[in-house]
């Protein structure tokens, strides 16, 4: 055989050795577990599907640094990118109020994932959120304050502390949930979050149900906030129509309700952005989707924290 003739290169030996090739995951953050192997979960009043409507309230600074990358949805033009700055701001000024009317009309309990910098800058929003008293989770400091691989741990811990301290003070809430800007993390993010009083986070999309996530101190709970079904991914990344997004949400709702009837409670997590679906030509599709879901008697509309708490209560070992 002449198989050694044609190739002249060779990779280092470690490319053909497999240090983690063993049972379970290739890291220690959580054990391997198939959804169907877990005990079924029930929701309050025997509801089958928990509806988690997650609303990111985001601030995209005009002087974006883009370290280590330009955040999706952020500035793309040479400075000053007034177009993207103001279009994102639209969500907090206009789109949000269309969202609130829709939520109240269909009896939906939203969860707000808030960039701390936004409420620092807008006392009106800060007060409004306080009055509504919906759950607030921290969405990082602002959209350009990314958490990323290789980030200096002290700098990241300072960023987390600043984001949480200020949001806790302004909201009057304890703030136990976290969503990283762009769902991006460093290798230390979960450890830092746990040390700063965070109980659950929403960055990992590897499940349809919550699960325990190990840190250097207290474990976090990972909450499943689907990226594949979020408005930005479907409409802005995939360029699907608003009608198609609505149809995909209905299909997901039907599918999960059916699965829940056989396998126990499920979660329909909708991440929806006021700067996108809050536009006049799109808001009707959010309303259609919420109308469809809210007419299902098996649906429990709840905050992320309440869903997490009900799930966690059922994870205690029996007896």
């Amino acid at each position: 055989m002449s198989q050694d003739k044609s190739k002249k290169t060779e990779l280092p030996a470690d490319y053909l050795t497999y240090a983690h090739r063993d049972y379970g995951m290739d890291h220690q953050r959580y054990p391997w577990s198939m959804l169907t192997d877990r005990a079924p979960v029930t929701w309050p009043d025997n509801k089958q599907l928990a509806l988690w409507v997650n609303v990111p309230l985001q601030y995209f600074p005009l002087n974006q640094g883009g370290v280590p990358f330009k955040v999706p949805g952020g500035m793309t033009m040479p400075y000053p990118d007034l177009r993207h700055y103001s279009l994102r701001d639209y969500g907090n000024r206009v789109g949000l109020f269309r969202f609130l009317r829709a939520f109240d009309r269909f009896g939906v309990k939203p969860t707000f994932a808030v960039n701390t910098r936004l409420v620092e800058r807008t006392p009106y929003l800060s007060r409004l959120l306080k009055e509504r008293d919906d759950e607030i989770i921290c969405h990082g400091y602002h959209m350009d304050a990314l958490h990323y691989a290789g980030q200096d741990p002290t700098a990241e811990a300072d960023l987390v502390a600043r984001s949480l301290d200020s949001l806790r003070e302004l909201s009057g809430q304890q703030i136990t949930g976290w969503l990283s800007p762009a769902k991006n993390e460093s290798e230390n993010t979960p450890d830092i979050l746990a040390k700063h009083g965070i109980e659950y986070f929403c960055d990992w999309v590897n499940d349809d149900m919550p699960y325990d996530f190990q840190t250097s101190t207290t474990p976090l709970i990972a909450m499943p906030l689907s990226t594949e079904l979020e408005d930005r991914f479907v409409i802005q990344n995939n360029l699907h129509s608003e009608a198609s997004w609505c149809e995909q949400v209905r299909d997901a709702c039907d599918f999960l309700l059916n699965e829940a009837s056989n396998e126990g409670g499920r979660i329909l997590a909708l991440n929806v952005h006021p700067w996108l679906l809050g536009q006049p030509h799109r808001i009707g599709y959010l309303e259609q989707a919420l109308d469809y879901i809210s007419t299902k008697p098996e649906v429990w509309s709840a905050s992320a924290g309440d869903i997490k708490t009900h799930w966690a209560k059922q994870q205690q070992p029996a007896g």
Partner: protein, 314 residues
């Protein structure tokens, strides 16, 4: 580098010897779920980065983990409902990481074929010896965990060398004689099986696997709507079913548990499966069985026809 990989000659899609399938079926239909393991922090390959950011690259890693934790069982149950045995394109390290998935598929008599060790270890830059060792490891893993003599190959993350198909066929012969290493899914030049020229002269076939019908290409590259994907699957089937009346065709749906098994996509996918399997003259089968049938019954005629047409053209 070569101008042409040299695996096959030009062979027009008309006036070919007729391919017939078992029981007079017009079309051989198979589904190839890719069951993959992506590493959180793989070693660096000089020619291709595994992830867009340093580790952890959570978006990419976690959605693929979703496929194994959540998506797999959904797709497996759905295929079972429509009488389809999957032909698994397997990251063979998954036998070690997630043996529960392997056991469930084995119990259903699914086929396992090699998709490398991990989908984060690329062929690029490997020496022949290294690529041969990687392929051998993958085929041995399938054998030791399932008892199956691996027949097919889809290079990990579609990363190839000029020698990939030769090495796969040779290792297959060394391990299993004529029962191993006899078809590839790496080439997309035809809607029928075709003979592949190898340096060993082994009887070896390319079985159409279809990138166009691949859910990752549909959802992540072409970014189409779930229902449009189902529509494309049905259109593809309709045409190949019609053409299969005069000369047998093949349709493959390559899937990924982290794509098609998302809650907002399964309903449309099920509609397509129901439609396809609802036709009478469909051979619902596996990649291995198609390749075996072709090699045993039609390969010789195909080789002769190709040679004859080449001779007449020159």
């Amino acid at each position: 580098m070569k101008e042409d990989p040299g695996f096959y000659s030009y062979w027009p899609y008309q006036d070919r010897p007729k391919i017939t399938w078992p029981n007079g079926a017009r079309i051989a239909f198979w589904v190839a779920p890719n069951i993959e393991f992506y590493e959180l922090d793989p070693p660096t390959n000089p020619y291709r980065a595994a992830w867009p950011t340093g580790s952890p690259s959570i978006a990419g890693y976690s959605i693929r983990d979703y496929g194994n934790r959540v998506g797999h069982t959904r797709q497996m149950n759905l295929l079972e409902k429509y009488g389809i045995r999957g032909s698994i394109s397997l990251s063979t390290a998954l036998c070690d990481h997630h043996p529960e998935i392997i056991a469930a598929c084995k119990e259903r008599d699914w086929e396992f074929f090699s998709h490398g060790i991990y989908n984060t270890r690329y062929t690029y830059g490997m020496s022949s010896k290294q690529e041969r060792a990687m392929i051998q490891d993958s085929m041995q893993s399938i054998y030791s965990h399932t008892g199956q003599k691996c027949a097919g190959y889809l290079a990990p993350a579609l990363s190839h060398s000029e020698e990939t198909l030769d090495l796969f066929a040779e290792v297959g012969t060394e391990l299993f004689g004529d029962d191993g290493g006899f078809y590839t899914c790496d080439l997309f030049h035809d809607d029928q099986p075709t003979p592949i020229n190898l340096r060993s002269g082994k009887k070896f076939a390319s079985i159409p696997y279809s990138l166009e019908m691949n859910d990752t290409i549909a959802f992540a590259v072409n970014k189409i709507e779930p229902r449009r994907y189902a529509e494309q699957l049905k259109l593809c089937f309709d045409r190949l079913y019609a053409e299969g009346e005069s000369n047998g065709t093949i349709m493959c749906i390559p899937t990924h548990n982290y794509q098609v098994s998302c809650p907002h996509r399964l309903k449309a996918f099920e509609e397509a499966l129901e439609y396809i399997t609802g036709h009478s003259d469909v051979w619902v089968t596996t990649g291995r069985e198609i390749a075996r049938h072709f090699l045993d019954n039609h390969y010789t005629a195909a080789v002769a026809d190709i040679a004859d047409k080449e001779a007449r053209a020159s």
